[in-house]
Amino acid sequence: MIQKVIILIVSLIVFLILLFFLIAVFRRIRGARRYRELDRIRAYYLPILQESFKKGDILSIINDLISEPGSIKFKAIEELLFKLKERFPEPAKELLIRLGYVSFYENMLSDKNRINKATAIDRLGIIGLETSADRLSQMLRSDDREIISVTVRALSNIGTLEALALILDHLPGLFERWLITRKAVETALLKFGDKGTPLLIQYGKTISNPKIIAIILDTLSHLNNNQAIGLAMDNINHPDPEVRTKSLKIIERFSDLLNGKDLEKILSLSKDPAWFVRLHVAKILGKVNSKKDVIDYLGKLIMDENWQVRNAAASALSKKTEAGLDLILKILKGKDHYAIESLCEEIEKTELCRVLIYNLLSPDGEVYKKSREILKIMNNLGFSTPIMEYLQTGDEAIAMELKLLLSEKAA
């Protein structure tokens, strides 16, 4: 009995191996034919399509392009139209409608197979017809994460304000049901570009979900429209630390527009309980003008309990060049080793190191003295590579000063 079972299993396995082999061979032959045919059709129709698009005459070629949905020709023409869409968006879209691609994919939206449905959504997004936005938005009612992600992406490919509004309308529900991730939404929203800013700002003012406000602010921080700074300032004291951070991210981008009052509000956040809020404060302070209070606040942040904040403050301070010399010196003479090392590292990585070296020829006695002292401390701490490099290739007068400085260390 057992022997019979084994023989049966062996036969079945041999049959499966042969079946797989035949399938593989068949698929190869079919695939080769299919790709040859695809290549042939593409090569034949590409110049025809290009020519008619250039002439602005698509009607004369429509009959020749018509094909059975799902056929190789259908696929080949679709690929060509998608390719040409970047150069000739309107005639390509027109042909995609007239040749039945849009209706084909719109019908596929009701397909029960998730992959077919997602493919249809994706293709409608690539075609990018404004009229598809409404149909696509219905897909946002789905409970399927994959469908939701592809739909949001497709709507962002359509790129109209209506499509943006449709995404924003559904956002609270999608987040409530854990159907989409932040990164996926942010990536999609960014595709609307600067034209979406007013709508995003308006939406940001009405929404109460802190998660969504944070997404809107984060998206705005990547766009070039400075109107966003108003929304950012409105949310700067929001109870949610992430919202405060994202607000500061926008402010950092448009820091040159800040007035004294705004700056005061930002400085008050240097004591924020969330370290990532303080980190962004430090970053902003690196970009705004070098008033004394700004330098003082940076001095406090460089002693922060969190290392990321201290690093950011050190980096910001290294951008302050001469205005920050006093504070740099004060920190380097202090006892906080982490702050000292962070600062030395930042000075070496940035242009400030070169500035300090050039200051050795400064006619301003104070600047000369402070710069020299900073370089000396850095050298004593082992941050001497820029000095050594300069000695090999730099100006002779400065090199003399540096040699003197090195000999003092040796002494």
Binding site: I6, F20, W307, C344, T385
Partner: protein, 465 residues
Amino acid sequence: MKVTTALILGFNYFVGIYYTFFNIIYSLLLCISLIVIIKYTKRLKYAPVKEINYSPETPPVSILIAARNERDVILRTLESVFSINYPFYDVIVINDGSDDGTLELLIDKFKLKKIDMVYRNILKTAPVKAFYYNRELPNLLVVDKVRSGKADSLNCGINMSKAPYICTIDADSIVEPDALIRLMIPVIESPVPVVACGGVVRVLNGSRIEKGIVKDIGLPRERLPVFQIVEYLRAFLFGRVGWDALRSILILSGTFSLFNKNAIISAGGFHTRHLAEDMEIIVRLHEYYRKNKKPYSIKFISDPICWTEVPSTLRALARQRRRWHMGLMQSIIEYRKMIFNPSYGRIGLLIFPYYLFFEMLGPLVEFLGYLIVPTSYFLGLLNLNFFLLFLLLAIIYGIFLSTTGIFLEELTYRRYPGWDHLSRLLVYGILENFGYRQINSFFRFQATLYYLCGKRKWEHVRKNV
């Protein structure tokens, strides 16, 4: 005598049951993989590769390359890494005390200059000697450190990384241009935090590389690497795909994997005493997240590809396989508390027992089987017909598993397009069961003995380039 006979007979029954279970599991994995991978390849049509590549929201990644005496290959690897499509990434090469001029080559090629940087030992590592950097090439940093092994070098890279994600790449590997972006897709799209994500590793031997990109995929002339191609196809396309579908990934190849940096730091970094640090870190991540009841996910994706050199001599293969098996044993024995422990969910109840009984003890059973089953026949304890049939079944099923990996590749990615590729792979898929598999089992059996004798050391594998 009666006791011996009973023992031999008992062992024969055990082998039969063991073999049946093993093949049932493999058949199930195969069915699952077949469905999953075909669906996955269809999904690739609408994967958001372009969107992620152009989005400022894509998380930055530090690519960590631990290099010890990699002078012959490191430039090729860096060329490949610098040609990937990814918006924000930096590369940290950790020179692990090379004495073949690897560091000098890097300094010379990239015009690097020594820079003074503060080294923060967040994960404790061996001392760092120097940092090299070129302001014109700000996304490359070379760290020169005292020799301390790959795991320690990776920890050093983590200490230096400022990105939220790290990607480990072997110094002799070639990454496909979209590989990192594809690895990042599940991280971006999954609502559950993905703490580690691995891609497929394929055999580089025999392929032509141009400017860091694999141009012509081919099969090597040597036999041993072709056997490994068949083996890798099977291991990655249906082994790992199947386990991933069951959310039970226990190994991601250190050759090419993406990790959430904070997750690695929270779990304590790569373990320096382990021979297979890539497996150990995955086990530890499971342990850490399950113990702390934090949501997490570890993913394997079948399309981001990294090509790597495989050993082309038996000696090198033996060293590699012994190290892998000893690493596996180390991980399973160290984390034995997870076995059949319901608090570790399917990791404790499914994948860990599988690895213990079939991966760790498999070579032992197989090797003893080769001795005891024929002995039983010669002692007249086994019916000849039954013995031959069982042998036939074992061989045919082995061929089935080998060729199925090749068929899966054919149905999905078809990276080996020539008819000669297909026919050669199929022939090797059949031949694999007449020697190569047994040799591998022997190396793993040897590793078991080495492990039990306490001979646990990292055996360096020199590959032909």
